[in-house]
């Protein structure tokens, strides 16, 4: 009996470890599946901003017609960058679990606009 219970314990631990491994793998799959988010697409009015969901973002990109001043930043202002003459433009950063932002700094509507966090 003692021998049996000793054999059973590692089995339970092993099963728990296997379950944990499966859970971790699933988590990794999910996190890789949401490694990119188009958090705005369409017409952005003057002064309007868009915000992504939170994740471990490392890149924030905007596509919009050249000549329109836009800003990108992470979190509450990290990496704040503005530009009007290039399309697209990106910022890279390692700011941990955070949001990505995109803003139309012009006085009028701009279309098409696509903001992507990855």
């Amino acid at each position: 009996m003692v021998l049996l219970s000793r054999r059973a314990r590692p089995g339970v631990i092993g099963m728990a470890a296997a379950l944990a491994a499966v859970f971790a793998a699933a988590l990794m799959l999910v996190s890789s599946a949401i490694s990119s988010q188009t958090y705005f697409s369409g017409t952005m009015s003057g002064g309007q901003s868009a915000t992504s969901g939170s994740n471990y973002w490392s890149q924030d990109t905007v596509y919009r017609p050249v000549g329109n001043n836009f800003a990108l930043w992470f979190g509450s202002g990290s990496g704040y960058t503005t530009n009007s003459g290039s399309n697209p433009f990106s910022i890279f950063g390692s700011y941990g679990y955070t949001q990505a932002h995109c803003q139309n700094l012009t006085g009028g509507s701009v279309s098409p606009v696509t903001c992507i966090a990855s």
Binding site: S49, T82, N83, S90, F92, S94
Partner: protein, 202 residues
């Protein structure tokens, strides 16, 4: 009668063809012209063997994939600005990335389509706690110096491009939205001015 009909049809067809050709020519944007136009032909460092980046960093591929442009091949990536950024020719124009160092953990990247302006600019503050902001960008071969003027009499910063790229570090305090004008002094003595208005919406 048949000959006359054929002649009329031929004339009408010729007129229609000429009109279509004119319409197509009018619809196509004229390519940026002039000795200072920001095109890859006027960025000498992109043709120099001296500036070639031998080992292409992984961030180059990441930027290229993210922007949907060609990844730089061997000898296609060039170091501009004395090494501050790397650039290559693409179908979107000239793409560059820089300032991306794992230690600092921040960088920017952009693709610049051909334009008649001799310079382009991007203004950034790397971190929330940083007090130094930077205005930087591509500059064509004929650009002697670049001047960044800050609003509210906060002064100006003058810098010289190095291998077709300039970096103007602002004094401590001013942020990108405090930049009012970026101008370039050109080899021919002319000056290019671009007024910048960045409303601070946040």
């Amino acid at each position: 009668v048949r000959l006359r009909t054929a002649l009329i049809i031929a004339v009408v067809a010729a007129v229609a063809l000429a009109a279509a050709a004119t319409l197509i020519r009018l619809r196509r944007d004229p390519p940026p012209a002039g000795p200072y136009a920001l095109t890859s032909e006027h960025l000498g460092a992109l043709a120099s063997p001296r500036t070639i980046v031998r080992r292409i960093p992984s961030v180059a591929q990441r930027v290229a994939v993210g922007f949907g442009v060609e990844t730089p091949g061997p000898s296609q990536l060039h170091r501009l600005g004395g090494g501050s950024v790397s650039a290559w020719r693409t179908r979107r124009g000239v793409c560059w990335f820089g300032g991306y160092t794992p230690r600092r953990g921040f960088g920017v990247a952009e693709c610049v389509a051909p334009t008649s302006a001799p310079i382009e600019w991007i203004a950034t503050t790397p971190g929330l706690g940083d007090t130094i902001s930077v205005v930087e960008g591509l500059a064509t071969d004929g650009v002697i110096s670049v001047r960044v003027r800050l609003c509210d009499e906060r002064g100006t910063v003058v810098t010289r491009p190095h291998d077709n790229f300039y970096v103007a570090r602002l004094p401590a305090g001013p942020r990108p939205w405090n930049v009012c004008e970026v101008s370039a002094r050109l080899a021919g003595g002319a000056r290019y001015n671009e007024t910048i208005a960045i409303p601070h919406h946040r």
